[in-house]
Symmetry: C2
Subunit: 186 residues, 2 copies
DNA sequence: TCGTTATTGAAACAGTCGTACCATATACTC
DNA sequence: GAGTATATGGTACGACTGTTTCAATAACGA
């Protein structure tokens, strides 16, 4: 008895908050501007999430969930040469539409380096992708549980993403990926 | 006439402030704790640097200067195979002693993604290294002004650094670099 | 000693931050 | 209607932020 709880509100707020963080970044996040943009109040944010830290944790989990879904949706092209698959992944992840996600990705990593205690899973977001990518590049792996190849592939992708986001030089980074694809194939 | 200026004080403070930022990170930097650790006052920091933003800019310039010097000191091994040179660079940059510098590196990059206006040079710190590294890997380059090879090499190094700092898995990242060295040599 | 310039301390200002407190409103069962 | 649990608004607290203001001190040349 009493007024029924409305769990949908928290979910709706979480979705909007994730949009906001993807758009504005994590570093300067503040409850009052966030609440204003979401047409709610700091009071309600704390009511639903308990504290800012828990809100941020929920937002990051949601962002990672979204990223995983989008990646899974896109990955399918298992046919084709190694180059084609690599270029396909690069084209997708480096597209402008993914920029907010990539930005948050780097921001979280940097924050984790300064405050490791906040992220008890020690880079789970990194190794997460290995299962998916390991399957995609199985034919250039040395074995079914080869972790080195996906590590290298992801390093190239992240390293070039780093370069691209810092310099904006798409031509040079695209060509560097092509070069890597060549090397992998021989 | 009048009391003579003491430019050495600013330099001394800058050096100490750089140490402090390398140790504590850039994100949560605050004048009062910084001043306390440096045995000075916020008043003097602003007196010497004008504003916090200018102080940070000076610290970042100093940090980059230090990094460039250390890199130049280390690079010499131009002899030896491509693998040896690559592994030498990786061993040096991924060593624990470089961790504070690497951390600041990632932190600045992330901050630059959120506040591009603060960094008008659009990733000059990135392309900086190309001249040096381009010379080091000239024999695997396609030409004297080949930018693709150094781009790829640095991408692998940064990408693996990202992985290593996030997961702490040195064995896997070391082996991934070896694999890349193999690929590069064939 | 006096004038001048550099340096420094203490305090305050105006703002933002996360959060807690208190009241009130809303929606339901009985 | 009463009773009850959820959902809000408003407000204020205490701690922080970068920066400014005002006054005092220190080191020099004359």
């Amino acid at each position: 008895m009493g007024r029924p709880a409305d769990p949908a509100r928290r979910e709706r707020t979480l979705a909007q908050a994730t949009d906001y963080v993807l758009a504005h970044g994590l570093a300067g996040l503040s409850l009052r501007p966030l609440a204003a943009a979401l047409d709610t109040s700091p009071r309600m944010l704390l009511y639903d999430f308990g504290s800012k830290q828990e809100l941020v944790a929920a937002v990051l989990a949601e962002a990672r969930r979204r990223g995983a879904v989008r990646l899974a949706e896109h990955l399918p092209p298992k046919t084709g040469s190694v180059q084609e698959r690599l270029q396909s992944i690069w084209a997708w992840i480096s597209a402008d539409e993914r920029a907010p996600f990539v930005r948050l990705f780097f921001e979280v990593h940097a924050d984790g380096l300064v405050h490791p205690e906040t992220y008890p899973d020690r880079g789970e977001a990194i190794t997460d992708w290995f299962d998916t990518l390991g399957a995609t590049f199985r034919d250039v792996s040395t074995g079914p549980d080869d972790t080195v190849t996906p590590t290298l592939v992801m390093a190239v992708v992240r390293g070039l993403l780093f370069d691209l986001t810092a310099t904006g030089d798409r031509h040079r980074t695209d060509r560097a990926l092509d070069r890597f694809a060549e090397l992998l194939n021989r």
